[in-house]
């Protein structure tokens, strides 16, 4: 029999999980949708995400409709009635194109979700490896610091940081970020989520470092860096991939929360969170302004979570068995896990 690599086996397991694949496809569709923002803005809507059209009129068939009426109510979805303009209507009293903002906003939401998770994953991996491999004082310092951050509720800590940094910006040595920079929410989210990743990674490193392959590497003269990055890290990869996937969903939700509360993405930049916040004021007269970006967040987070679960089951089938055993679905068989 031909030997199969663990990655190939994982791929085969994932391929068999149709639900996970369907949601993965949905996520790819969402990414394609937001990446097409400049195309839609330039060739269909003929407007940018921040261009205001308060006093303009849009032609719908033979009729000319005000983009924002005298009472400040924006035009609703025109679909293709306006020749692609205001496909989802206008965003509020400024008369900006909701569809264009939804596409550009999605880019920022996904960008923040991915980048914040990437930074958190890199930081957590580094800290987890150092704490787990060296143990002793290094572990004590890193773990206690993580505990301190962990002690604060994530959302509250992020709001507090967002409030102070959105006003004054961030200045660390030569690095200066203005309060309206999208790097501010990225760094805040990465900072508050790092302990949540670092702790389980440290636990796994503590377990891995006792394995025979590590002892073998050490006996062959491998130094700490080689052991950490050459031996331990490859064995952490499947865990990191799962953490990363699920982290993106969590971080997108936190970004939406912060932006809704006005301490995340700052105007004129927009994200789905800020769009919900902006639309909230008109929820009784124009509910779609809140419902549409809310639905986009829901679909994106759901697709990432379901695909992430599938990925975890594929990369670490034991964890599925553990979960099922815990839920009483199946008894673990064979050796203890």
């Amino acid at each position: 029999m031909e030997g199969r690599s663990p990655w190939y086996l994982a791929y085969r397991r994932l391929r068999r999980n149709r639900v996970a694949l369907a949601f993965g496809g949905l996520f790819v569709a969402i990414v394609v949708f937001v990446c097409a923002a400049p195309l839609w803005a330039d060739h269909v809507a003929h407007t940018g995400p921040n261009a205001t059209h308060t006093l303009e009129k849009v032609e719908v068939g033979d009729e000319k409709r005000e983009v924002v009426n005298r009472e400040g109510k924006p035009v609703g979805p025109l679909w293709f009635g306006g020749g692609g303009k205001f496909f989802l209507g206008a965003d509020g009293r400024l008369g900006r194109d909701e569809m264009v903002r939804l596409m550009y906003g999605g880019r920022i939401s996904l960008f923040i979700g991915f980048l914040a998770t990437l930074i958190a994953t890199l930081l957590a991996t580094l800290l987890g490896l150092l704490a787990g491999y060296y143990r002793g004082w290094a572990d004590a310092v890193i773990s206690r610091t993580m505990d301190v951050i962990w002690a604060f509720p994530v959302t509250l800590l992020a709001i507090a940081l967002g409030l102070s940094l959105a006003t004054g910006g961030l200045r660390v040595g030569p690095l200066h970020l203005s309060g309206s920079s999208i790097w501010i929410p990225i760094l805040i989210i990465a900072f508050v989520y790092t302990p949540y990743m670092a702790r389980p990674i440290r636990g796994e490193v503590l377990s891995l470092r006792e394995k025979e392959f590590v002892e073998a590497a050490v006996s062959q003269g491998a130094g700490p860096l080689r052991v950490m990055f050459g031996e331990l890290l490859p064995n952490l990869l499947s865990t990191l991939i799962v953490f990363f996937t699920l982290g993106v969903a969590n971080n997108m939700l936190l970004e939406a929360t912060l932006s809704f509360l006005g301490v995340g993405v700052q105007p004129p930049n927009t994200s789905w969170g800020t769009m919900i916040g902006d639309g909230f004021e008109l929820i009784s007269s124009a509910p779609l302004l809140t419902v549409i970006p809310g639905t986009m967040i829901l679909l994106t987070v759901l697709s990432i979570n379901v695909f992430g679960d599938g990925l975890r089951d594929a990369l670490d089938p034991k964890s599925k068995l553990r979960l099922e055993a815990h839920a009483g679905i199946a008894e673990p068989k064979g050796t203890a896990v």
Binding site: V68, G72, P268, S285
Partner: protein
């Protein structure tokens, strides 16, 4: 002889009409009953010495009377200062530094205690003892600054005589706005033994037509007719109406939509809060003229431009921006609650004379901009995050971008906005949004803090445009010492135009308030005073 019966008939009708008007306060309508109202939040204080919010001032306008007050009238007529507890307006002597007033004789507090001239001194001292936000208006009284520090020994600049009721106030320097400041609630007279602590839960006795008889802070409060009003005070103070309803019950209802709903179902007679933005047009469309009315307030919303640094140090650039901003667009952004104007002094303010030097013309704006050809086009636009001011800032940024600037929007939390843009160390203070509401209707309250060169300060600066024109500075300084009259009003009007010729601001309008009552209340009778809001004495059941 044959004409006598007709003359008698006319005389008789006149007597009947006169007596009806004197007891009913107007044509028709029911006297008595209980008015129910709602506030979105409990006033900061139910104590006139310390309250500094619109909610508190509306709640106490008809309860606590100062020596002077603002006329119980709508619009510009309501900006007029009239005598309240004093017999007449002050006699100003000694080059504007001495104010002499006389207390009306026979006045009593609602608990029966006689009102004395010395109560005025005690009231002003209480303002300082409580570190009231209103104390700044009275720190110009001789010895007041010292009293503010020590809180003992009295204020030597206030001399009173309880026998004659004479009150003399000495100022350290002339202050043309002092008459207006004597009409603020901070110096509404309270008995001498009133404790020097805020009394929201147990409000002090009243001098006005109503007294607060029950107060549950954060939840509700109630009024009844002041028993001394009918017996004494009402006859002595014809400038203040006696009111129609016998009792008033106010509840705090935090949700604006619920407040609207309660009125629509006739469960509450009146809401003090402005109708929420998302229901505004619906309520306006359905009830305007019968139960809803737009009320004009004295305020100016504007964009300022820093005249001390490029690119806004060039008047042509500032004028171009004035032509580019379209007030009509901003009216929509404010969902119909903004009345557009293009000048510093708002409608209703003494000295206001309507003009527009820069009617919207994007072509002209672009031509002026091209002519000025500013080398520095990277600018930061500041605004706060309160809706719809944030939208106004975004609109302004878009206009500046269309004009040719590379404009970056900076949105700051509303709580700290004024502090941040008022601090000279804040970088990139190029241009931005602001609004200005005044505590009393005097044009000096617009020019002095926001446009006079001497007001430019390193922190807490409100002269955001940093205007410092020696000629106009001197004019502001001169007018600030004079009592306002037709001549001064004309000078203020001219100054408004002179400043707008320099275009340090893009004023775009005044925000309105609203009165919304249920079907039982006669909306036509309700008075909205520009300083105090709805006048409780004017509410009457149909």
């Amino acid at each position: 002889m044959r004409k006598l019966p007709a003359a008698l008939l006319v005389l008789g009708l006149a007597v009947v009409a006169l007596s009806l008007s004197s007891c009913g306060g107007g044509s028709g309508g029911k006297e008595g009953g209980t008015l129910t109202g709602s506030y979105a939040s409990f006033p900061d204080y139910l104590d006139p010495s310390v309250s500094y919010t619109a909610e508190g001032w509306t709640a106490m306008y008809d309860t606590y009377l100062p020596l002077l007050t603002y006329a119980h009238a709508n619009g510009a007529a309501g900006s007029k200062v009239v005598p309240a507890l004093a017999e007449s307006l002050p006699k100003v002597t000694n080059g504007g530094k001495t104010y002499t007033l006389t207390l009306r004789k026979g006045l009593k507090y609602s608990d029966g205690t006689p009102v004395k001239a010395s109560d005025f001194a005690g009231t002003v001292e209480r303002v300082f003892k409580l570190n009231s936000p209103g104390s700044t208006y009275y720190s110009g009284i001789v010895g007041a600054e010292q009293f503010a520090k020590t809180k003992t020994g009295g204020i030597p600049g206030i001399k009173t005589d309880d026998k004659t009721g004479k009150i003399t106030i000495e100022l350290t320097q002339p202050r043309g706005t002092f008459t207006n400041e004597l009409a603020l609630l901070f110096v509404a007279l309270l008995p001498a033994d009133t404790p020097a602590k805020p009394l929201s839960a147990n409000p002090p006795p009243a001098t006005g037509p109503y007294e607060i008889v029950k107060s549950e802070p954060k939840r509700s409060w109630s009024y009844a007719r002041n028993p001394q009003w009918a017996k004494n005070n009402g006859k002595l103070i014809p400038e203040v109406p006696g009111g129609h309803v016998d009792k008033i019950d106010i509840d705090v209802i935090r949700n604006g939509a619920t407040q609207v709903n309660e009125i629509e179902r006739d469960k509450t007679n009146w809401m003090q809060t402005i109708v929420p933005a998302d229901l505004y047009s619906k309520v306006k469309d359905k009830y305007e003229g019968t139960q809803f009315r737009v009320e004009h307030q004295i305020n100016t919303y504007y964009f300022w431009m820093n005249t001390t640094k490029a690119p806004f140090d060039d008047p042509k650039v500032r004028q171009a921006v004035n032509y580019a901003v379209d007030s009509a667009a901003l009216e929509r952004i404010y969902a119909g609650s903004l009345v557009a104007s293009h000048q510093i002094l708002p409608d209703g303010m003494p000295g206001h004379k309507t003009f527009d030097l820069y009617p919207h013309d994007m072509g002209k704006a672009k031509a002026l901009f091209k002519e000025a050809n500013p080398s520095d086009r990277d600018i930061t636009v500041w605004t706060d995050n309160e809706s719809p001011n944030d939208d106004a800032g975004a609109y302004y940024q878009d206009v500046l971008t269309k004009l040719g600037f590379n404009a970056k929007l900076k949105t700051i939390n509303a709580d700290s906005y004024a502090t941040i843009i008022g601090n000279e160390t804040t970088p990139d203070l190029d241009t931005g949004w602001f609004d200005w509401f005044v505590d009393y209707p005097h044009p000096n309250a617009f020019f002095q803090p926001q446009l006079a060169g001497e007001s430019i300060a390193p922190t807490h600066n409100y002269n955001f445009a940093r205007t410092d024109d020696p000629k106009l500075n001197a004019k502001i300084a001169k007018l600030s010492t004079e009592q306002i009259g037709p001549e001064q009003e004309a000078e203020y009007a001219a100054m408004d135009k002179e400043y707008m010729e320099q275009a340090p601001w893009v004023p775009y309008g005044s925000i309105t308030n609203s009165t919304f009552v249920d079907s039982e209340i006669d909306l036509d009778k309700v008075i909205f005073n520009p300083t105090f809001g709805q006048d409780l004495t004017s509410f009457q059941f149909k």
